[in-house]
Symmetry: D2
Subunit: 343 residues, 4 copies
């Protein structure tokens, strides 16, 4: 039984973490904090937790969290996490950080995309990028896990096998991403109120989204050259779910690749993975089959003698794209069966 | 051709007014204002108006509006309108006020429900309540029209024929009202962001909603005694539309009333009305058939020897419930065919 | 470990049962059948079950189900269940029936509302109505549980304490019910396609819904006289969730009841119940706090000297309103902790 | 005043045509037919038309339509239109056909994508493709207009200026298209019921959609070589609206093109068009700004020295993508102001 705390308990990822951890037989939630006007029972803030958890959520009290917990999830906005994580680590706690603060190795890119100089640069190298399908062995021993972003999780898992197999050109990768509303976080913005999202659909931040360097950096570590990603995210009127349609250009000598070849490759690549599902030919993932689960579903398409590979990836942005993956990482760190509380 | 202005052009009702008035052959929109950080083309604020209207929207400039317009729609929050309407009227403009400020005769109820003492009490008596089905003759001559609330429009039109026919008890009237999101206005509130409304449904303000005294006051003027309304509004995940399910208790000597009797009564009562549609037996109004229109659809149900009458009323909260009715009132005031720009 | 089967596995309640039972540590799903053109893996029919369950779903094979299971959930349409349940019981299986076929004692009402003469009338008396909050002791020993309807579950749980306390008149009970789409079942009907439901809202089957006799019969068994229910269901554009707004008339000698009195009564009445949550004053249930859970949330409202009690009840129609309650009943029948797989 | 008929009046495009034509001052709807079990008032089929139109809709009676109308809109399924259009033309009626039957010149592609041999091949050459921005002069004189598909309208209008300017490579054009539900038509299919679409998102028909040859054929007529389109349509949970995100590869000698250059090109190209709106830099079209209008909104993106051009196009699939464009074509054919009934 491990004692965990959540800092940033009132955002969508914090809420989802509570929900998952309450189902986990080896975890006791011992501490909750958030930016909040006065201490309040979490079951008053989220009525859905009535009769399930009685803990009070309060402004962060560093003494309390470090004395009452051994593992802390930091579900904080970017640039806030890096102010708090070092103190938690110094107090010998383990940390799974759901912000972007420890994901990027390149400090210049961090500063460009997050508009702030990184205040804890040395610790970035210690942090393990929490994508179990790649870094499982490192996660086992990690004290600080940088939990991946939602778009990067889908993009990296979708592209990696093709990249490792050397099937694709590194330039002109196109990711047309569609996300449900909660991907943006529980923020107060006039463009987020119901009637602006409902019955609407729009692209935003073409080639400027902060997840681009995260995808490029991780994938580049598996290739000889730097990759170049074109990334167009879209906001879709649903609560949860990401669908990414990825367009990859085949290498000249790979034009004969067919859908079946890709399916074989991906099934082999992910054969031991409990949360990756590769779709058979003529069958495509859809958001509703992953929502509420930690699965990442992948569909593949390639015509012989055509130059493109098209990949469809679906995840729940709050589960495999955030809190579910964080719990998967916790399970790995503590030696629990990886699917505990997740299936 | 009349020159009109809209004060409060950036709310949902203001936006809808622009949309309607652009289709009106006898109207020119000459002035737009709103609480706004800097003057901006309305077609920049609402891209939907690109290539349709080029006017700049600015902070209210009283000189401008009174020199450039003869009719002004005030689409302002409650308690703000009463500060501005007197100045417009003093400048000899006609005003159609979409706020609640000139709807209630009872100043004490105004103060209780709107949390502010009324600052322009004498003008309330001059104001004509803009429900054409009742007050058409007065509207023709009005300088100040108090445009009805959305819930009251549906409630009054649904109940009035039964009341006038003396079919129902005055106590224990029950209105179970369901509204789409835009009924609440374009406001910044964490409970209004998409994921809090979508896939959700809730009641709010049981028997405390500010539209209750408006319904009671108007209906009471048609009865010997004061009515008593129980009003439970609900928020439904759709952009537009109100459905009210009204439960009325038959008078003891009216227990034999059947659905057919009610249909006959209502068809007669509203026989000359261009925007009231009475449904035949076993056919019920639904929101999608009134959305985008100025119609008020009414379905009726009564079993012989049962004590209840059940009435279903559907309107578009932004049209018959607000801006559509305001244009209908304008048409009446200026002698245009009442359906101009509305069908 | 018990071996269970599901007959009718491809409807919404069947799908939800599979989902719940896969999380249950003491259950093995051994058999699945449905009206289906050819045998197919359930994980092909519902891709969400890929990598979770490999069983094939087939047309009902009575030999197989009775030899492979000890408990069967029949998630069948009304009037179909009564043809199959007797054979299962004769084969010594236990049955939890999610249809309406064994809920009503009154055979005439069954025939009137379900348009078919009951073919298994004698077994109705053996069946236990599966509402644990009332019939827990009988459920423990039952071989056949008639799992309650979704609307009746919310209505009965909402009204019962007031009825038992003798606070309310038995006539003129009004239930204004709002349901998400899945309440209607996975049926092919032009009025069910997306654009007919989305951005729409409508009432249907006023005072003729088949759940009315179920509510009346169960509640009447707790009162000296027959109750009379007015029931108006509405279809709301959301996938899951029921909200009922119940209007009850206080007895003459109970006019002084206040909200606080009701809250006290309900908290006491349901003090031992794991799935009933009574809301504090000025706090109301909403659909999103029960969706995905087996909870029934109840909010209460009563003004002193006013004649009405208003009760808001929220459940997930597929969980507490169907499959969740069915699993709760299974837990009771087999002596497992009642919340297993449900929290 | 022209007398028009609609064949196929009960589909989404038929319904929208009625709605538009009722607002048209120069049109009288004289005839409505549909596959229908018995003749019925259109205002009974669509209650939204109550009090607006009293015509009966019936099974197609060829005598009636040809004697009562001079112009007919055929809003029929593909492969059905070509059986009926010749008879209408022979009777000297003008026809605007909303099906695909007269859009493709290439009969083999027609047969491959629509699974049926074309039964009226000679008339295809007479038909004018009803995209006013390209074929306005021909439409003026046409007897048979082949109204474009929804996806092709957005794709062609989005790509054409770049193609004509010779900025782009002809191979590897990528169109990632997202459509609201009504794009699929009012069809009975279990995958179309509300809960399968709501809170879901999926790709379908990758590179096999029947609109691909239509886009390729029209665009190819403006280029020296055949184009090659990759087309991935997605189904999004909203009633109306299409958003296409188009990825074009710049020619080698055009790498220095910037967003501003494209905006200038497109504004010039479409300078006389009443329904094309080009967005300024850093401003992107969204579905809600075109829904309910006949506009086609275009946003442009290109970084200097990057190889891709990204174009966002938004239309209302039922208006500019179908019935609105059909009315625009009618206005052109009869010499009415092109925006009549459309703004």
């Amino acid at each position: 039984m491990i004692k965990v705390g959540i800092i940033g308990a009132t955002g969508y990822t914090g809420e989802e973490l509570i929900n998952l951890l309450l189902k986990h037989p080896e975890v006791r939630i011992c501490y909750l904090s958030a930016k909040i006007q006065f201490p309040q029972k979490i079951s008053e803030i989220f009525k859905k937790f009535k009769a399930r958890i009685e803990i009070v959520c309060e402004e962060l009290n560093f003494e309390k969290v470090s004395s009452q917990c051994e593992l802390v999830f930091t579900a904080l906005p970017h640039t806030v996490s890096m102010e708090i994580v070092p103190r938690l680590l110094n107090a010998k706690l383990k940390v799974i950080d759901l912000s972007a603060d420890y994901r990027l190795r390149n400090l210049k890119l961090y500063q460009r995309f997050y508009k702030k100089k990184h205040s804890d640069p040395y610790r970035i190298k210690e942090a393990v990028y929490g994508l179990p399908e790649i870094y499982r062995q490192d996660i086992k021993k990690a004290s600080l896990v940088a939990n991946p972003g939602c778009y990067p999780t889908a993009a990296i898992l979708g592209i990696l096998p093709c990249l490792v197999a050397d099937y694709i050109e590194l330039s002109d990768i196109i990711i047309d991403a569609k996300s449900g509303f909660t991907g943006a976080g529980r923020k107060l913005d006039l463009s987020y109120i119901f009637a602006e999202i409902n019955e609407n659909l729009r692209a935003y931040k073409i080639n400027t989204h902060q997840h681009i360097p995260e995808i490029e950096e991780r994938l580049s570590s598996f290739s000889s050259k730097k990759l170049n990603i074109n990334f167009v995210p879209h906001l879709v009127p649903l609560n949860r779910g990401i669908l990414e349609t990825i367009y990859l250009k085949k290498k000249k000598n790979k034009l004969n690749l067919k859908t079946e070849d890709l399916i074989k490759l991906y099934k082999r690549f992910y054969s031991k993975e409990p949360f990756i599902r590769i779709y058979d030919k003529e069958s495509l993932p859809q958001v509703k089959d992953v929502v509420g689960t930690n699965f990442c579903d992948i569909g593949l398409y390639s015509e012989k003698n055509s130059s493109l590979i098209i990949i469809i990836v679906a995840i729940d942005n709050l589960l495999k794209g955030a809190s579910g993956q964080a719990v998967q990482n916790m399970n790995i760190m503590y030696g629990y069966p990886e699917t505990t509380a997740l299936i």
